[in-house]
Structures are given as structure tokens and as C-alpha cells.
């Protein structure tokens, strides 16, 4: 079981790294999908099959596709990659990378502190998830529904091409 885990973990890390370094947006998106899938597999390994499926359906499927469509809509073309190259000077990397590594070091240090044996993976059937979802968390579910509804309305409203100006100071008309 450990072997699978390490393989998928390696894939996930590699694909996220690729996402971070790619210049072209589409490549990065695709790598991201790969990384999501590998995470889904890990979910499954950790005894959360329901979550794995959800991850694939919602996350990889819906959100990623949405972003891809969005990018295609903007049809940035090659010049965006050139722009990207121009922005990603190696010099830029140093400072943030340094801090993130420190952060990582601390996280790892914390996790390693109370390290318990990894073997205790217990299966959590979707039925248990469902029961608790509508048990104590009923209110949270309603809230997330509200959140989604807000998201939709917001997306719709912002996305519309209003002819008139949005704000006093945003004079220029949207194309």
C-alpha cells in the first residue's frame, strides 16, 4: 500500500512543480489536472473513496474545465507566454522561495513532532459521511448552498458586459 502512495505522491509533487514553472497557461492547467487526479488517488488510498470521486468530478472536472474555457475565451495567444517569460526572472524566485522553504521546514518539523504510525488508515464509508453531513453539519450544508448561490449570482453579475460604467472612476467603457 505504501508503494502506491509514494508513486502517486511523487506524481502529484512533480505535476505541481510543473504547474508552477510552466510559461504557457494551458500546459500549467493540464499539469494541474494531473496533480488533482493524483490527489484523488491518494484520497482513495486513505480510505475516502467518496471524496476521491467527488474530487475528480467537481474539482478536476468542473473547476478546471471552467478555467480552461475561461482561458480559451481570453485567447491570449503566444504573446502571453512571452510576457510570462519576461516576468519570471530567476532573480524573482529567490526571496519568496526562501521564505516558503522556511515555512515548509517548519511545517515538516511540526508534523514530525507527533508522528504517529501511518498504518492506522481506517476506512470511512460514504454512508458515515452522508449521515454526519446531514447530522450535526446540517446548518453548514445549508450555508454552503447559500455560498454557491452567491457565487453564481456574483459570477453572472460581474461577467455581464454592462454598457454603462460600473463605477464613477472606471470611466473607460468595457469593450
Amino acid at each position: 500500500m505504501g508503494v502506491f502512495f509514494y508513486i502517486t505522491a511523487a506524481i502529484a509533487v512533480f505535476s505541481t512543480a510543473m504547474v508552477v514553472t510552466r510559461f504557457n497557461i494551458m500546459h500549467a492547467l493540464l499539469y494541474l489536472i494531473v496533480s488533482l487526479l493524483s490527489v484523488a488517488v491518494i484520497f482513495y488510498l486513505y480510505g475516502a473513496p467518496y471524496m476521491a470521486s467527488l474530487e475528480i468530478i467537481v474539482y478536476a472536472g468542473a473547476i478546471m474545465v471552467l478555467i480552461i474555457f475561461f482561458v480559451m475565451m481570453l485567447n491570449l495567444g503566444p504573446e502571453s507566454t512571452r510576457l510570462e517569460k519576461q516576468w519570471l526572472k530567476p532573480g524573482m524566485w529567490m526571496v519568496p522561495a526562501l521564505f516558503c522553504v522556511i515555512l515548509l521546514g517548519e511545517l515538516v518539523y511540526l508534523i514530525a513532532q507527533n508522528h504517529t504510525p501511518v498504518t492506522g488508515i481506517k476506512e470511512v464509508p460514504p454512508k458515515a459521511v452522508g449521515r454526519s453531513l446531514f447530522g450535526p453539519y446540517i446548518l453548514a450544508v445549508e450555508l454552503s448552498a447559500m455560498l454557491l448561490m452567491a457565487g453564481i449570482v456574483g459570477a453572472y453579475h460581474l461577467g455581464r458586459q454592462q454598457p454603462k460604467t460600473l463605477h464613477r472612476f472606471l470611466q473607460s467603457k468595457p469593450s
Binding site: 475516502a48 471552467l66 478555467i67 475561461f70 519568496p96 521564505f99 515548509l104 459521511v129 449521515r131 457565487g151
Partner: protein, 93 residues
Amino acid sequence: MTLAGILFVLGLISMLIRRNMIFMLLSVEIMLNAAGLAFIVASSHWAQPDGQVMFMFILSMAAAEVSVGLALILQLYHQLKSLDSDEASRMKG
């Protein structure tokens, strides 16, 4: 768990480096995903469904967030004709 940490940090790095807003959005996605992973590992560890319930919420939140984020980026793109986050610095102190 360490994997979640690594993923999260990678997302963070990309967030810091990238000037393109879409990439920032992507890195937010990565970070969310890493957080979700951490939750799932924890729930599996204590055999409690809560972790997974939490992941459910993260998913829903991520979805809503992406939709609104993209709409905003669309608007900004129309205003500034570019996706560079430095352009949008009119809120200077």
C-alpha cells in the same frame, strides 16, 4: 501529511512569483487542494467523517471562489487590457 505540506508550499511559491492573475488563481486552487488532502488524511487517521465533510465544504467554496474570481479577472482584463497584477495598483496608499 508531509505531501500536503509540500503541495501547499508549492502553491504558495507560485502565488508569490506569478504576476499573471490566472496563475494566482491556480495556485490558490493548489493550496485549497493541499488543505483538503490534509483534512482527508486526518479524517482517515481518526476515522471520523468530519474531515471529509470539511473537504466537501472546501470543494463547494473552491467552486464558488473560482467562478467569482474568473468573473473579476474578466472585468479587470477589460479594464487594464492585461492580466498583470502590478497594473492593478491604483489602490496605492
